[in-house]
């Protein structure tokens, strides 16, 4: 017993060092996830790969909520390719699909995965793949395999090679707070600090090509919008108008930036042409107009306004300026983000004084509440629209959480320290 506890403690200590800042806990999966076995990959003798590829594929598929991977300790064998697979064994374990593979080095400095996806019921290989990456990017290799398997089995493009931006706030002594803008892989690994400040950082967002980001920083003791190039890390200050400079949103073609400015009185939506710097005022109302999000066609913008007394979502045509109200259900709908097909919105919806994430079906005009926690905010949708990330509170701390667009799958990504918030899911990066 004592030995077991000591082993557990050693394991905890070791994992807290290697663990990324975000850890994943699945708290609600799909009712009937597909049983799948990801067999540990074989490898060429002498080759050392820093990560367990099969284990990363397993957690990717598990996190999607649509698969229930078989535990390794239940596997009856460790086949490395299709010819070594005894379908009967896998069938007796109730597995529908098996993934096998081997790692090798075909070119110095790279690692190659040859893998196969097998259908246990038809006893057939349904996917054969070969992927090579630089030896220092084994996680990327694993996420690539995950994407291919996910696409084959769901017919939906995989989003395991995407990244996220988020803001952390760590309280230090003497009423001071350290704000950080962070970027990590979508599973929380490979975290890096993009910007660090003693003043607040807000509203991180991606350019449509995933090569730039924009955010608000108070480093001059006033809010201003900055653009940062992810390849060079060069930062440029885009705005420093009097009053609010907030909620930047790149247009779908990347040429313009929607934003909120209050330089002319109350907060309104503006669009800046990034090449010329020309500024166009899109809304003009004494109420609060904020949180712009582009519709996929780039012709209109949805935004939050309290012009009707309470915050609701409206849509404005960028060239004509004509405004129509979008949400009518409930007394608080805010910060919409548009699904890639333009057929739905995710937003913050208040019910009985609690703030939840909801999805609005624009065709049927129906609101469905996806979360049950309170103080949920900042929804950000995956580029394949399968899931969304949002910020909530857990154990008195700001945490990130994910929920599938049908509400069936939920998991939390708590941070080890400090409060994290404002997740922004990247577009497809390849």
């Amino acid at each position: 017993m004592l030995i077991r506890i000591i082993t557990a403690l050693i394991f905890l200590a070791a994992s807290s060092v290697s663990m990324a800042d975000l850890t994943i806990e699945i708290n609600k999966g799909k009712d009937d996830p597909v049983p799948i076995a990801i067999v540990p990959f074989g490898w060429q003798s002498g080759l050392t790969v820093a990560e367990d590829i099969a284990s990363i594929v397993e957690s990717d598929l598990h996190r999607s909520g649509q698969f229930s991977p078989l535990s390794r300790s239940d596997m009856l064998g460790r086949p490395r390719n299709a010819t070594e697979v005894y379908y009967r064994d896998w069938k007796s374990l109730g597995v529908d699909y098996v993934v096998v593979g081997t790692l090798s080095q075909e070119v110095t400095g790279t690692v190659t995965a040859n893998y196969e996806l097998l259908d246990v019921n038809t006893q057939r290989v349904i996917l054969t793949g070969k992927e090579s990456v630089s030896i220092d990017k084994p996680r990327y290799l694993a996420h690539t395999v995950s994407d291919k398997i996910y696409e084959k089995l769901t017919n939906i493009r995989g989003a395991f090679r995407t990244q996220l931006l988020y803001v952390s706030a760590v309280r230090e002594g003497g009423n001071r707070t350290r704000f950080r803008l962070l970027k990590s892989d979508i599973d929380g690994a490979n975290e890096s600090v993009l910007f660090d400040s003693r003043e607040p950082i807000m509203a991180p967002t991606w350019s449509p090509d995933g090569q730039k980001i924009a955010y608000v920083s108070f480093e001059t003791t006033r809010p201003a919008i900055y653009i940062q190039d992810l390849r060079t890390n060069a930062r440029t200050q885009l705005t420093s108008f009097k009053g609010l400079n907030g909620a930047p949103a790149f247009s779908p073609d990347g040429a313009k930036m929607a934003m909120v400015l209050s330089k002319d009185g109350s907060p309104d939506i503006y669009v800046m042409d990034l090449a010329s710097g020309d500024l166009q005022r899109v809304t003009n109302h004494f109420a609060i107009d904020t949180e712009p999000a582009w519709m996929p066609d780039g012709k209109s913008i949805v935004f939050t306004s309290d012009r009707g007394g309470k915050p609701q979502i409206y849509k404005v045509n960028v060239s004509s300026g004509s405004v129509e109200r979008v949400t009518f259900e409930g007394d608080y709908n805010a910060r919409a983000r548009v699904l890639a097909d333009g057929l739905g919105l995710v937003m913050v919806h208040r019910e009985n004084g609690n703030y939840h994430i909801a999805v609005l079906d624009l065709k049927r005009n129906r609101v469905e509440i996806l979360t049950t926690t309170n103080l949920d905010e900042s929804p950000s949708v995956a580029p394949n629209a399968s899931m969304l990330l949002y910020a909530t509170q857990y154990d008195g701390k700001g945490v990130l959480a994910a929920v599938s667009i049908d509400g069936g799958v939920k998991y939390r990504l708590p941070s080890r320290f400090g409060d994290v918030r404002e997740p922004a899911w990247s577009p497809f990066l390849q």
Binding site: A203, P223, A224, L244, V260, T290, T304, Y332, R335
Partner: protein, 164 residues
């Protein structure tokens, strides 16, 4: 009540329109925040040397509180502001008003709400004789709470405008 609120916002829009004329000078100043900070600091050191002023400052409220989702001044906030205005009229330095909100609701809506609060205080000061050019408003929304946790007492401490 609704009509009144509308008038107030129109008023805000009007004042801001007046300010828009000198917006460019204002923006330029933001590039020299360091210098601004130093001058503010020097000024408070000066008033520290003046025993009358320092006593005055010590007894005065520098934080003005608001109701949930409201930007109108409470009777208590007005009283506290009246006392500050008496003091500020004896000085000439810049006045920085920082608006804040509690964490309920979205961050961008809250930063807009907190700006309304700072502008409410600025308008009240201006109406009562503090020159507009001395007053700067900045909104921090819910980004800089002073109290933590999810209770009404926490929230009420965070719904505030701070005079700096």
């Amino acid at each position: 009540m609704k009509y009144q609120a509308k008038n107030m916002f129109l008023g805000v829009a009007f004042f801001s329109a007046l300010l828009a004329g000198c917006a460019s000078t204002d923006t330029d100043a933001s590039g020299q925040e360091g210098a601004d900070k130093v001058s503010t600091y020097t000024e408070s050191t000066d008033s520290m040397n003046d025993s009358y002023n320092s006593d005055d400052m010590a007894n005065l409220e520098t934080v003005f509180y608001f109701e949930f989702d409201q930007a109108t001044l409470t009777v208590k906030a007005r009283k506290a502001l009246d006392a500050q205005i008496v003091r500020l009229k004896k000085t000439t330095g810049p006045v920085r008003l920082e608006g804040h909100a509690d964490e309920r609701g979205t961050r961008e809506y809250n930063i807009a709400l907190a700006e309304r609060r700072a502008i409410s205080v600025a308008d009240y000061m201006a109406i009562n004789g503090i020159p507009r050019y001395r007053i700067e408003t900045v909104s921090y929304g819910e980004e800089r709470p002073v109290a933590f946790g999810q209770s009404e007492s926490t929230y009420s401490q965070n719904r505030r405008v701070e005079l700096k």
